[in-house]
């Protein structure tokens, strides 16, 4: 049975604070099995036989909104897909080595050509961007406090919500769940 990772948007941001226990309970209440959280940043791993991940995303979002009182956009990937993201190399190794951080942005649907162009428009001396399927990659060459990139502005321009994780989180997730990579 496939294992999924749910990446939740802005779960512990602004005035919101959610415990991992609350998240586990919400996912179990939806009927999902083997629910675990991975580090405290809104990553929930579970098992589900669903053939319609999109419908499951909406079901989880509905439950989270009911439990927490605000909208939490949810992006599902199988553990096999997470492993593929961890292996993907969006930038040359030399650029990556010199950078301060590489972040992965999750979308519900792949970016179209116009969306990719909009994303590239945010590039500066500090920030570089790349798109691949339902993921965006943001290479930050300096500390993020020095970057002018605004995720909310990008979302508004794309008209698509997204959530971001440091690539180290993705690599560690892939390392922790390799046995399910064939799902």
């Amino acid at each position: 049975m496939p294992r999924y990772v749910a990446f939740l948007r802005a779960i512990n941001v602004g005035g919101h604070t959610v415990t991992m226990d609350q998240l586990r309970q919400a996912f179990e209440a939806v009927g999902l099995k083997d629910v675990e959280t991975f580090i405290a940043s809104g990553n929930v791993i579970f098992t589900s036989p669903t053939r319609d991940p999109g419908a499951l995303e909406r079901k989880i979002e509905k439950r989270l909104e009911a439990d927490l009182g605000y909208e939490v956009k949810t992006f599902l990937r199988t553990t096999a897909q997470v492993c593929a993201i961890a292996r993907y190399e969006p930038f040359a190794k030399a650029h990556l080595k010199a950078a301060y951080a590489l972040n992965v942005g999750f979308l519900a649907d792949p970016l179209e050509a116009a969306g990719v162009k909009l994303l590239q428009g945010f590039s500066t001396d500090i920030d570089a961007f790349h798109a691949n399927g339902r993921e965006m990659y943001w290479l930050c060459r300096k500390r993020q406090s020095e970057s002018r990139f605004s995720g909310i502005r990008l979302e508004k321009m794309l008209k698509l919500p997204s959530t971001w994780r440091n690539v180290n989180t993705i690599v560690r997730l892939a390392a922790k769940y390799p046995e399910h990579a064939g799902a």
Partner: protein, 241 residues
Amino acid sequence: MGFMGGLFIIILAGIVADSLVKIVKHRAGTPRLRADLEDLRHQLDDQANRLTDALASPSRPRRGTFTGKMIRSIRAVVTLLVAAGCHRTQSTQSREVSIRGYGPIEAGMTVGEAEKAVGRAFDRSEALEGGCHMVRLAGDSGTGPLFMVVDGKIARVDVTAPGIQTSHTVAVGDDEAKIAKVYPERITVSPHKYSEGHYVTVGPRTEADSGFELVFETDSQRVTRYRAGRLPEVEWVEGCS
């Protein structure tokens, strides 16, 4: 003054010296000063009463009066020290957030060191040894400070509700403009990743604090939460990532 009076003066001098040592230690972060100083004041009262009684005999009225004044003077000095120490202790108990952490808990400490420093345990309902966790001190409510523990060490503290101030008096709910006012020339403002607000980042004031930051999240008007601690964790925008 006589042997007895001299002896008591030596004892009192020892007590005063002891109080000074305790205050110096406290300034360096040693806890439990308030209780120590209150004990000290009781000891001093006791000694002063006994000495005054002993020297108040009709055979030595002048010496007794002189020594009694000395004792009272020493006690007054100690009382001032006690007051100064207690004031410091109270401000520590209110636990302000500095660029390095929360009260005596600093980023870089192990969980055990932090517990020892604050005199309280963390909530251990989740194992804290490996990976990244957000945890509160045991018994704290949902508005208490939230500590990020990375591989068993404190990385940062997050404040998500009003009531806990930084050492420069900024708290959740304050105007964003106040940050620039109280931390002049040390701030960087960048767009928030998930809202229309900002991250207002306060850099270190001294070389010793390099590698630490204070980061305020705002809705562009008011502070909605803030955090302090070491880089890179203090800049992570989504909890542990």
